[in-house]
């Protein structure tokens, strides 16, 4: 029992990070119908910017307490958003109106560019960071087994929920959100009605990148080791999560992320660790056979 509870905590905190990245995939897909394969690498850039911010703050002697971590988070979101904006501007906007596969290939190219850019500018070696938020709480003790939730796990869960709440309000209650949903439904009609679709799409990328920056910062703080390659694996997992939850659906992305995190964790906990990815992807396949649009995806209505 205690063991299962601990694995539940592990699974949720892992799933939250997947979910945060998955939101970026799903938002972009929703609005322009393309998979932004560079998103995993934007997440990686977010983690690197957070690392640089922490090291600079440490140098200035200001890296102390939760306020400093919030500042790091804000800096990482700010700079990563710029990257998200630039990626869209450089690699996708010129291809808008081109055939469907063009931006997809461009995205893969962008992913390679970002990876190599970081590899060359930051070096190929892993970058370690000592724990910034040490400590944790003991929830339960069962013989030698201790159920524990660490401070950083709590921070991950709280931050994710807050950030998602803010962005849900943004999408459902604000003029920008209305414009985004309008673009999603029919971009041409939206632009006829006076919505600046280019600006709306840009902002979608900015928001997606900001969420990836949150995920990157949390990832850095939790695991303390990053390199230029982390975006690939995390991106694949998050993309899977987005598809599982129903690509295009915000709550679906979070649900998918949580599910992937939980499936992986519980499979490693009770069965063979080495087949956890097989388990996660098998469930994805089964889900897509019976629910082709994912768990919370809407039925695509063919427009005539």
């Amino acid at each position: 029992m205690a063991y299962a509870l601990q694995q539940l905590i592990n699974g949720i905190s892992l799933g939250m990070i997947y979910g945060l990245i998955a939101v970026g995939y799903t938002m972009v897909y929703g609005i322009i119908g393309m998979i932004n394969f560079a998103h995993g690498d934007v997440f990686m850039i977010g983690a690197f910017i957070a690392l640089i911010a922490i090291l600079l703050l440490q140098l200035a002697g200001l890296m102390d307490g939760p306020a400093a971590i919030l500042l790091v988070l804000a800096l990482s979101m700010l700079f990563t958003s710029l990257y998200g904006w630039a990626v869209e501007r450089v690699a996708y906007r010129p291809l808008r109106g081109s055939f469907r596969l063009a931006p997809l290939i461009s995205a893969i190219g962008m992913s390679i560019v970002l990876q190599n850019y970081v590899q060359i500018s930051q070096g190929a070696r892993v970058k370690p960071l000592e724990p910034q938020l040490p400590g944790g709480f003991e929830i339960l003790r069962d013989g030698h087994f201790v159920v524990q939730i660490s401070a950083i796990q709590i921070a991950i869960i709280l931050t994710t929920l807050t950030v998602l709440a803010v962005f849900t309000v943004l999408v459902t209650r604000t003029p920008l959100g209305r414009a985004m949903r309008a673009c999603e439904q029919d971009r041409k009609m939206a632009s006829l009605l006076g919505i600046d679709t280019d600006r709306t799409i840009s902002l979608t990328f900015v928001i997606g990148a900001a969420l990836a920056a949150v995920a990157g910062t949390m990832y850095l703080l939790r695991y303390g080791v990053i390199d230029f390659y982390i975006g690939f694996l995390a991106g694949v997992k998050a993309f899977t999560a987005a598809v599982l939850g129903g690509i295009g659906s915000l709550p679906g992305a979070v649900l998918g992320g949580l599910l992937i995190g939980l499936i992986e964790t519980f499979w490693s906990a009770y069965f063979s660790v080495q087949y956890k990815d097989v388990a996660a992807f098998s469930i994805l396949v089964l889900t897509l056979i019976f629910l082709p649009t994912g768990l919370l995806g809407r039925q695509e209505v063919e427009k005539v």
Partner: protein
């Protein structure tokens, strides 16, 4: 239009082939002799690539300063396989195509084994300074040698040490499913069982991930006190760090892939007391003293595989001088038949398979950010 494109493509290919041949001939009769070192220069295990590069560069500089080999200077090529078996094969083809006759590499066993087939066909001699998987020389052709030991030897030492020093404790064995990691874990398990101890858990993890909390919880559930990991330092370090963060009191035991200062950067204080098998410190051998000073003068710590790479190149150069030929096959025969070869590591002789005759694995312990022999 289509035909023209094909023609253009053909012309381009012909030009490319021509230039490759031109490069090949410069490696021929006169001009520098092309040799290479190949390993993970980028990626997760780039720390080891850097070690190999440092060792190879110093060896080539020293040999060239001493007049080169057979009166010709050496030119060093660096191959980057990122520890990826597929990339290793393409690097091997590339190096062979550039007229390289000898490769000191690769690092990861999973890379060395497939690359050795390419080298074998292309007539390239390969001496790996670090690939310890038995299959490398067991299945290897005429061209495979190594200056390090083998995992069956390493595993025997590790398994026996655990059985002797951690009697009655619960031991878990993990590996990363790589040729190196799994081979080492299997050999250690064999030796452990032969010495009358059973492991509590034997499992594989996925390398490249960061979240090992599920495995760590599983270790705690199984009440494990000793964890043996067949794998590289990044993952081993993360598993240990996450276990210590949970307040677990475990001893990590690993193989020779933990001999890099990067391990400590990842674990921090959590790495205290970690044990690993490696050959007795080559930096302290009298034969290495002079070379070690040269490294230190360049501000390089010749840790881990630096001197092993240096020795690999030294051996090749010595053999070539001795038989007065650069023919890789003849050098390979001489390496096995003649010897011992004087190197920075001390005298080295090879078995008919291409392994060193006297491997010497001992235990090291991590303390305060550095490792030392027990």
């Amino acid at each position: 239009m289509f035909a023209r494109r094909v023609f253009l493509g053909g012309a381009l290919a012909a030009v490319a082939a021509g230039s490759a041949r031109a490069q090949g001939t410069t490696g021929g009769a006169t001009g520098p002799i092309r040799i290479a070192t190949a390993g993970p220069m980028t990626g997760q295990y780039a720390a080891f690539g850097a070690q190999m590069k440092a060792g190879a560069e110093q060896a080539v500089t020293d040999i060239n300063a001493g007049g080169g080999v057979l009166g010709r200077q050496l030119a060093l090529e660096i191959g980057d396989d990122a520890c990826d078996p597929r990339q290793a094969v393409s690097v091997a083809n590339q190096l062979a195509g550039r007229g390289v006759r000898f490769v000191a590499g690769h690092f990861c066993s999973g890379s060395s084994i497939p690359a050795s087939k390419v080298y074998g066909e292309e007539g390239v001699l390969q001496i790996s300074p670090a690939s310890t998987n038995p299959r490398f020389t067991d299945e290897g052709g005429w061209n495979t040698f190594r200056t390090c030991g083998r995992d069956d030897q390493q595993g025997q030492v590790a398994g026996k040490h655990i059985a002797d020093n951690f009697k009655g404790q619960r031991v878990a064995i993990l590996h990363d499913n790589s040729a190196y990691g799994k081979g080492l874990a299997d050999e250690t398990r064999k030796a452990l069982n032969a010495n009358g101890m059973q492991e509590t858990l034997f499992a594989a993890y996925t390398p490249g991930e960061r979240d090992y909390s599920a495995i760590v919880s599983r270790l705690q559930q199984a009440n494990v006190q000793v964890v043996y990991i067949g794998g590289y330092h990044t993952e081993s370090g993360l598993i240990l760090r996450q276990a210590k963060e949970r307040g677990m009191n475990v001893t990590l035991i690993g193989g020779d892939a933990l001999v890099t200062n990067e391990f400590w950067q990842i674990t921090g204080a959590a790495g205290e007391g970690t044990l690993m098998t490696f050959s007795s410190d080559p930096r302290k051998r009298p034969t290495a003293a002079e070379v070690v000073q040269r490294f230190r003068a360049r501000n390089i710590d010749p840790e881990g595989y630096v001197l092993y790479t240096y020795a690999a190149i030294q051996i090749w150069a010595d053999a070539a001088r001795k038989i007065n030929s650069l023919d890789p096959r003849r050098i390979a025969e001489a390496l096995k038949a003649q010897g011992p070869w004087q190197t920075v590591l001390g005298p080295i002789s090879f078995t008919p398979k291409g392994d060193v005759t006297v491997p010497d694995y001992v235990f090291y312990v991590w303390k305060n950010g550095s490792y030392s022999e027990i």
